[in-house]
Amino acid sequence: MKEPVVNTTVVDSATDTAVSLTITLPRIPDIELVALEGLERLARHLGIGEEKIGEARIVVTEAIINALEHAGGAHPSVRVEFTISSGTLVVFVRDRGKGFNPATLEDPVIQKKLGTQSKRGWGMKLMKSLSDDFRIQTGKSGTTITITKRMR
């Protein structure tokens, strides 16, 4: 079975104010929990509060499950990188899928979801709403989502 590949770096061990974690996740059920475990350990190490950790958990979960769904290739995987520095979390999530046109994504509204078959499609809205900055770079060779979130 493919196992996740993990690299952890303490960027500033003297003050413990900046840490990063890079992980490559194969597409297997609930693999996003491995990344969340790493994120939570980093954040608690830096004394981040539980409510902010909870919000970051949602943002990261949505980014990873979305990327894994669209990851291409014979062995689909996504690369995830967290850095927490000066109380700010930066998350990169990269897949090697076919890319997409963000302009075609409709902002989901609960009233429109009721009475239709499609109840999904909330990931982007949640990532945008729970982050301070949200960027998408997408093309034929894949998509990278960059999320910045203040944690204090």
């Binding site: 059920p29 609930d30 996003e32 929990l33 491995v34 969340l36 475990e37 409510e51 950790i53 909870g54 919000e55 958990r57 949602i58 979960t61 949505e62 499950i65 989901p108 509204v109 609960i110 009233q111 979801k113 009721l114 009475g115 109840k119 999904r120 909330w122 990931g123 809205k125 949640l126 709403s129 729970l130």
Partner: protein, 118 residues
Amino acid sequence: MEQPFTLTTEVRDARLIISTSGYVNNVGGEAIANEFQKHYVSGVREVIINLAHSKVVNSVGMSFLIEIIERLSESGGRLIFTNLDPAVEKMLAIMGLFGYAGKEKTVEDALSALSTQS
């Protein structure tokens, strides 16, 4: 790490209480919806979903709960969430679910609220 999903159910005074534990992903969300459906066909129209032991949820799992809201809205029923982690509560608010479902701190609070509204 978050534990595998499990749920327990209890019916009190014709009110269904679904208590979950672990990650509410697509599998967990579908399990909640299936459990609800079993009781819905028996006539249950008031439902409490207790997420005290589910700190990790995702939008796919939550989308199954929209189906529950839909069924209850159609039949004059009510849904109340309890014991929400603050971040999960924020997530449900962003999705607009509290326009169609209530929230209370505890199951007992939810039962009281349903009794008051009856």
